[in-house]
Amino acid sequence: MSTATALTWFARHELRLAWREWLAMITGGRRGRKRAAAIGLVAFAALMHLPAYAVIGRFATLQAPLDKTSLIVLTSTILLAWALMLSQAIESVTRVFYARADLDLIMSSPAKLANIFSVRIAAIALVVTGMALLFSTPFVDVLVLNGGARWLAGFGVVIAIGLSAAALAIAITILLFRLIGAARTRLIAQIVAAIIGAGFVIALQIAAILSYGTLSRFAVLTSEAAAGFAPDAASLLWWPARAALGDLEALLWLLSASLVLLGAVMAVFSPRFADTAIGASAQAITSRRSNRTLAFRGGSRQQALRRKEFLLLKRDPWLISQTLMQLLYLVPPAVMLWRSFSDTSVAIVLITPVVVMAAGQLAGGLAWLTICGEDAADLVATAPLSKAAVLRAKIEVVLIVMGAIFAPLVAALAFASPLQAAVTGCGVAIGAASATAIQLWFRVQARRSQFRRRQTSSRLATIAEAFSSIGWAATSALALSIPAGAAVSGLMTAAIMAVTWKLSPRRG
């Protein structure tokens, strides 16, 4: 087999693996669900056109040349998409290093490793770009339908930013391996991904709060100060925006630059990919030590369970990165709260839905980890403890952790507005309880490492969790502004919960 044939064959193998992984994620790993998944995807894509229209529809009539404010808004939107893609790509690359079971086989084969890993890097870039294309299609569709075919260039921009995000993600991850070692890279990479994904929006929001007393990032982007700082219209910085508007020259440059970046990453990092992979697999056989060798602690059986859950949560890299992400999203409301002590702005009301929404999302993840993610299910099932006692102890852990995270924020809010603090506290409690209940009703025993697949095990649970978080967040916000609206919103969310329970496999 010639080198080129071998590489084509390996590329096909990589794409097949990626396709099957994606299919398993979409179908929840169950056969016979392909048609339902395809229908669901098409319906989801069709539905996504509505929010896409709401977000981006007004930009469809934009024509070149753009004024500075429009250039800033469009460029920032592209930068935000790129940051999210980079965040996702770092997560994917880290997963490839730690999770691929075929590294031994590949590295023991007589194939040239640099070539093989070049293909793997290219496959990662293709997968990241493919996902980006999938998610961006409703947005580009809306622009094309309302603004003409010139917006098709938007797909080219998505490809360019997808390839460059993947290239940079590979470089960042391998550099992290080199700098801090395999043992810490997984956690740090997740934190870096969270910060990159959320950081851009949060920084804009904080700037908006400090300057204009609002959470809207557009307040900064459309300000005269931003226009004053921005470079001339001829600057390279605006090329992605120009490319999106249909400037073919800018688009070709953008695509070329992304491909060159990816090529450079392949050339520089393919030979090191193997070393990094060896480092990651070697990490699995070197354990981290704990210093505690004191006497065992006493207490009830439930206390033993709770202690174990707290210890595992403390050592869970996913939870740390997700908590950090939620805390990052809480930074703007916290800044707003701090600002409102000196300025009694009505915008402080916006804190409540953000906090309630974050609580619902975090509680869902926590509940899955403690209730479903049991690595020693047989041990717990054979312990002299009733199932109800086990579940109760696990739910207590979720609620205690949620209390520890959100109580300080609600307490701080009480100084600014006791009523709002009370409403926020209730919203957090109900949102967290609802997310936990959904996980309880749809619980399926799994290993903690399968956390990524939790959202595919039951589509209904995932959707119900999202709607419940949004519903309770809206209800809390309305309770502070339009109480009658809160009653309607609360009843609707309660109805969603009732229907979810009715459809759940655990009712009764």
Partner: protein, 250 residues
């Protein structure tokens, strides 16, 4: 140290999945006995033991552990029993000592007793250098030893093990076998499934042969030879003869 007391009494145990996995099985194991359950793949060994351990609910039949009805009083039965599966299920992010502390807590063992017991167990299984290392980097053998130590830390009267020696190296297997023999000498009852017939032949007081969800033969090695008219044949030859006969009869 066998007594006349019955450690496990199973009657008419039945379980059906898409086919009949366990078919009205009767089994009686005396206290202090080392009992090996052998049989071909899919014979119903694991299903039987999972029902005894309370991990599966039988469709019919009864299970009593030292006279405690495991179906009506599962917590009472679990208090005096331990289960070790072939795939050690331990927590990657806990150290062996932390794992044993958790297990001791679940069984409500006094920390004054469980702290030295846990250390002794881990040391006797050759895990002393790894007491404070997280289990995430452990080999299959080390994980199996941690799981076994967990099963023993609450000093159960009945230990049920499903293929505990699978994947263990010779040294680890010897550690495990030594520890089990020691427990039996101290009066504990051990029931173990195994595909390694040599282990059953050497270690077990009695051997039960299970095929198609039914107990087709039971007794000491000599009794099995006598029942089947084979003078001094090995357990392997006996096993093949018994399983072949069952397959033909079916």
């Amino acid at each position: 140290m066998k007594s006349e007391q019955t450690a496990l009494e199973v009657q008419g145990l039945t379980k059906r999945f898409d086919r009949l996995a366990v078919d009205g099985l009767d089994l009686s194991v005396r206290a202090g006995e080392f009992y090996a359950l052998v049989g071909p793949n899919g014979a119903g060994k694991t299903t039987t033991l999972r029902m005894v351990a309370g991990l599966l609910r039988p469709d019919a039949g009864s299970v009593a552990i030292f006279g405690v009805d495991a179906l009506s009083n599962p917590i009472g039965a679990k208090q005096i029993m331990a289960w070790v599966s072939d795939e050690p299920m331990i927590y990657d992010k806990l150290t062996p000592l932390e794992y044993l502390e958790f297990v001791a807590g679940l069984w409500g063992v006094d920390p004054m007793l469980s702290t030295p017991a846990a250390r002794d167990l881990l040391v006797s299984l050759g895990l002393e250098p790894h007491l404070n290392e997280r289990c995430e980097g452990f080999s299959k053998g080390m994980r199996q030893k941690v799981a076994l130590a967990g099963a023993l830390v609450h000093d159960p009267r009945l230990i049920i093990l499903d293929e505990p020696l699978t994947g263990l190296d010779a040294v680890s297997a010897r550690h495990v076998k030594g520890l089990l023999s020691e427990r039996v000498r101290a009066g504990c009852t051990v029931i173990m499934t195994t595909h390694i017939l040599e282990v059953a032949e050497r270690m077990a007081d009695r051997i039960g042969v299970i095929a198609r969800g039914r107990l087709v033969a039971e007794g000491t090695l000599d009794e099995l030879r006598a029942q089947n008219g084979h003078g001094s044949t090995s357990l392997e030859d006996l096993f093949i003869a018994l399983v072949d006969v069952t397959a033909e009869a079916a």
